[in-house]
């Protein structure tokens, strides 16, 4: 799981152009939206695309994102249980 969390942090940084940020800078338990990384609604859509592209996960209901994107740790857990690639 630690490896997945690290890879996921790298993919989030790349997908969302979080310049100047390293995987070590992201607390996997911190909230991604709002006060955490300060991501916005376009970032949420980009994360949905990233999950489909890298892990073959297609969210049937986009509102699921609210729960899944709570933190990197929650996201990694969801990916581990649902990935198809």
């Amino acid at each position: 799981m630690d490896e997945l969390i690290y890879t996921l942090k790298q993919q989030i940084i790349e997908a969302l152009n979080l310049e100047d940020m390293k995987p070590e800078d992201i607390d996997e338990n911190a909230t991604l939206f709002g006060e955490g990384l300060g991501l916005d609604s376009i970032d949420a859509l980009e994360l949905i695309v990233m999950m489909e592209k890298n892990y073959g996960i297609k969210l049937k209901d986009p509102t699921q994102g609210k729960e899944i994107f709570k933190s990197v740790a929650v996201m990694a857990d969801f990916i581990a249980k649902n990935r198809t690639k």
Partner: protein, 184 residues
């Protein structure tokens, strides 16, 4: 009347006609200018090159004016012109949907597929609630640009304008020639 002006090309930056020192060129130049003269707006890194160019040019312009209090105002318009519209962003977005086997439309790329996004970025940054517009014309034509900018002052609300030419076809070909104008 033009109060201040900024010129940016891939290899030259002039602020009120005075060259600004830099080491980088092309789109890396814009990042260098951001780091050296702005640095407090990470949304910059998410922008397409056209928006980065317009954003940096406007920041350099407003830094000369000083008094950056970011208080909401309606009396300043943002009016730009160019030739290539949002061509670079359009091409980038197209690349995310070109291959049916690798079809992943990027929302972050899509949001920049209109040239007037750059005027919105500047208005959001500075809390401007006045006119914003972006006109696509055949080529750089100072007469057309100045005529349109002067006409914008016919609106009784508009007292000043950030306006001019902001054009980008790719990361190595761009030009901003913008002015801070006041009605007097």
């Amino acid at each position: 009347m033009i109060k201040h002006q900024v010129y940016i090309s891939p290899s030259e930056v002039l602020v009120d006609g005075i060259p600004l020192n830099h080491n980088e060129k092309d789109s890396a130049l814009l990042t260098e200018l951001y780091r050296n003269h702005i640095g407090d707006y990470p949304k910059f890194f998410k922008m397409d090159t056209l928006s980065k160019l317009g954003f940096i040019a406007s920041e350099l312009l407003l830094n000369i004016e000083g008094n950056r209090d970011f208080e909401p105002r309606e009396d300043r318009a943002v009016i730009f012109f160019n030739r290539n519209a949002s061509l670079q962003a359009d091409t980038h977005y197209q690349s995310t949907i070109q291959n049916p086997e690798n079809f992943f439309p990027s929302p972050a790329a899509f949001v920049y597929t209109l040239p007037n996004i750059v005027t919105g970025e500047i208005a959001i940054r500075n809390k401007y609630f006045g006119e914003t517009s972006f006109m696509v014309i055949d080529d750089y034509d100072e007469k057309i640009i100045m005529k349109n900018l002067e006409n914008a002052f016919q609106d009784p609300i508009t007292k000043s304008i950030i306006g001019g030419w902001v054009d980008c076809s790719d990361e190595e070909h761009f030009e901003a020639r913008i002015y801070l104008m006041e009605n007097d």
